[in-house]
């Protein structure tokens, strides 16, 4: 494989990105990379915290050119950065909002995003196929976030194969994304895909439905919308039509039943769903309204071991990866998604181990026992957690306050339900069925 074709464009005058209203050429991008390299301290690691997607892209390319590894932590809270700098001390934090990063205990470098003269631009130095480009971290709730290294080979292979699945006829499509580029799905679908597929990368990160529709209207030509079930669910409820979306790509959680049809009908589009994880990257895709079956990307094999554990093989994994989810395998390349492993719950695209959350709850002083529960929300988009707890000297507020120091905000319980004891079966386990009943009773009582 000739790597150069994936790195620098054949024609520097080819369009690369949309920066507000400006259409930027590759010459401009590469000139900006060259300019940033002058001011970016050369460290082994770069935390790229730029919120503008174009700024992130320039920083990402500069890091690749400098042979630096980009770190992708689950968030950029001062505490997270501080912890990260313990294991990765030779690090610089690149950001485009300097005021937010005055207090961090990490060397920081502000990128002002000013476009430079495009006459002199750098040719990117090609990384080796096995070169480590970035390290993604799983969210982690109480435990240490776990690092997953992504090689150049894995990133370009996934981008190429996702692009083939997308089968776009349009050369000048713009990729608009509601997800931040620091998220693994965001990096793959909103940075690597437009870069390697030759589409325009949109600098903005529209968030509210109004932002998304306005951005789509501003862009001339075809758009690909990269988003999540949470955003898409709210978007469908907010507007009845959307302009020019050739294709919607959704990931981070399975789409609620019916939502995929609604999206395709209301927005006159096609919806491609992506199955993957921070650990593995994209593994499979499906056209959700056509089929329940997921098809693995070329080169990926799923092999079941002992009927339970599923190993994923790909030539870019150092060793097979173990999947957390339960799948029904049809063969090594296609499957139906059954459920997430019991231990994993997801809220708003963030993942946590139920075991770790329960540990955090039970480690609070005065809590005798307690358990987290995720009710099925009516909308099934943003199902928040609740806790059942035995703790006579606590109130809702003291439980939440104690948890706040231990778990991320999205996992904080919306309801704290106090019990005299937790329901247990003969094996001493707390069956989900009983929690579901308790939750039903609680709601009935509340609404009476």
């Amino acid at each position: 494989m000739n790597l150069m074709q994936y790195l620098n464009p054949k024609d520097p005058n080819q369009s690369a990105a949309l920066y507000d209203e400006d259409l930027l050429t590759w010459a401009q991008v590469l000139a900006d990379v060259q300019d940033l390299i002058k001011s970016l301290p050369k460290r082994v690691y770069v935390i790229n915290a730029c919120s503008n997607r174009y700024h992130f892209f320039v920083g990402f390319l500069a890091a690749i050119h400098n042979r630096c590894i980009t770190l992708l932590p689950a968030n950029h809270l001062p505490k997270t950065l501080e912890n990260l700098s313990v294991n990765y001390p030779d690090v610089v934090c690149l950001n485009d909002q300097n005021d937010l990063y005055n207090d961090i205990p990490v060397l920081s470098c502000c990128y002002n995003g000013k476009l430079t003269a495009e006459s002199h631009y750098v040719q990117l130095a090609a990384p080796a196929i096995e070169a480590e480009i970035c390290i993604a971290f799983t969210s982690g709730t109480t435990g240490e976030p776990k690092p997953y290294t992504k090689t150049w080979q894995s990133l370009i292979t996934i981008a190429k194969h996702t692009n083939q699945r997308l089968a776009l006829d349009y050369e000048e499509a713009t990729v608009v994304a509601t997800v931040p580029p620091q998220h693994m799905f965001g990096l793959e679908a909103s940075i690597m895909l437009p870069w390697q597929g030759g589409y325009l990368l949109d600098a903005q990160v529209p968030f509210y439905p109004g932002d998304i529709i306005e951005r789509l209207k501003e862009i001339s030509g075809t758009c690909v919308l990269v988003s999540t079930p949470a955003h898409l669910g709210i978007l469908v409820k907010s507007v009845s039509a959307a302009p020019k979306i050739e294709c919607v790509i959704s990931a981070t959680a399975p789409l609620a039943h019916g939502l995929s049809e609604e999206i395709e009908q209301n927005f006159t589009t096609r919806l491609l769903e992506i199955y993957g994880s921070t650990e593995t990257g994209t593994l499979a895709t499906r056209w959700t309204t056509k089929s329940n079956t997921w098809f693995a990307l070329p080169g990926i094999k799923l092999i079941s071991q002992d009927q339970e554990i599923i190993n994923v093989h790909a030539n870019y994994f150092a060793s097979p990866m173990i999947l957390d989810d339960e799948l029904k395998l049809f063969d090594a390349h296609s499957f139906e998604f059954l459920r997430r492993s019991n231990d994993l719950i997801k809220v708003g695209g963030k993942r946590a181990s139920l075991l770790a959350l329960n540990d955090a709850l039970c480690s609070i002083d005065g809590v005798e026992e307690g358990v987290f529960y995720q009710p099925n929300s009516v909308l099934n988009i943003t199902a928040r957690l609740v806790v059942f707890v035995v703790a006579s000297n606590h109130s809702d507020e003291t439980i939440r306050a104690a948890l706040r120091c231990k778990v991320e905000a999205v996992f904080l319980p919306r309801s704290v339900i106090f019990l005299k004891k937790l329901p247990k079966n003969k094996l001493g386990k707390i069956p989900q069925k009983m929690l579901k009943k308790l939750w039903g009773d609680f709601l009935a009582e509340k609404n009476r």
Partner: protein
């Protein structure tokens, strides 16, 4: 509608749209909505809240609004924004 009546109505909307475990009366005008020491809402709540506000008052929230961070500061600022921009 007087601003007090609207404040009560928006507080009720907050509770019902976000399925909060507080009573509308318990949300004071100056309680921060999105910080840990207040209601502790997060970005998913922001999306749901924006939807509820546009349905009920015809006010569309956009992140590029210069005052966006201020709008969501507390119940007072949110009500003021709705009062100034409501279309229904």
């Amino acid at each position: 509608m007087s601003s007090t009546a609207l404040e009560q109505e928006v507080a009720s909307l907050l509770v019902s749209a976000l399925n909060l475990e507080v009573l509308p009366d318990e949300i004071s005008l100056d309680m921060p909505l999105f910080q840990d020491e207040g209601l502790g809402l997060d970005s998913i709540d922001a999306l749901e809240l924006a939807l509820a506000i546009s349905k009920q008052y015809g006010v569309e929230i956009k992140s590029e609004d210069a005052e966006n961070k201020q709008i969501f500061t507390n119940l007072r600022s949110l009500t003021k924004h709705i009062q100034q921009h409501r279309t229904c």
